[in-house]
Amino acid sequence: MMIPTVALGIGILAFLFLYQVISRNKVSKMNSLAMQKQNAQSKYEFMLNHKRELKKELEEKKRKLATLRNNQQGIKTISSDDLEIKDIDDNEKVSRYLIQHGKITMEQNIKVLKKWKYCRWTTSASASQWDSSTSKPPNKPSRSTRFIQNPRRSTRPLPYCSNKEPHRFLDAALSISEF
């Protein structure tokens, strides 16, 4: 009875030992492979960053060289920031922001810009009519103003186009995007 028990114990111990050895071997190999991949990846990223930096440096140096050449020829380069030119109005900024954040699409942006221009035109027309008559508002609104004020003709209400409230391009763009 003693011999089988000892044999069983030795067998179980050997089994556990072998199992552990195989598992450790696998883990160490997997780790070394992961390290190898990591090394290659880090080297690639380092080279990529180095290339980006060099590109930036090259562009800066090219710009400096161009400035030097222009100065030598008597032409002084000046940027748009130096001139303080603001060729973008607020509406364009807002529409760019909304497109960038995916609130509206390009088509919706074009649509709302068209409507916005139309609204501005109609309000300016009605305002000029109001100014021309000294005390009363115009009795007959123009064709374009009637189109906005008459709910039967316009299938979709344009809340941002009312004459009483100031126009808000952002609200208009967002209300268009919700439709």
Partner: protein
């Protein structure tokens, strides 16, 4: 209680089962390692190729930068202070 021959038979069967478990475990582990090593080898090859291309690009960029530096120095000397 079991007699001795039955007990030995049971022990031998248990031994076979343990050996089979060890063999299956070894096979699984080696298969996993082989797959992983193939995957890593492919990735490393691709990354090495990309890195070599980047190295060439970097050498070109450095040459261009040196040329521009030389031109800048020449221009600075030519420009009257």
């Amino acid at each position: 209680m079991l007699d001795s021959s039955t007990l030995y038979l049971v022990l031998i069967m248990a031994g076979f089962i343990l050996v089979a478990v060890i063999v299956i475990h070894q096979h699984n582990c080696s298969d996993l390692v082989r797959r992983k090593s193939n995957e890593v080898e492919n990735a490393v090859t691709q990354l090495t190729q990309k890195t070599q291309a980047l190295e060439q690009a970097i050498v070109t960029l450095k040459t261009e930068i040196e040329e521009i530096d030389e031109q800048t120095v020449l221009l600075q000397f030519e420009t009257p202070s």
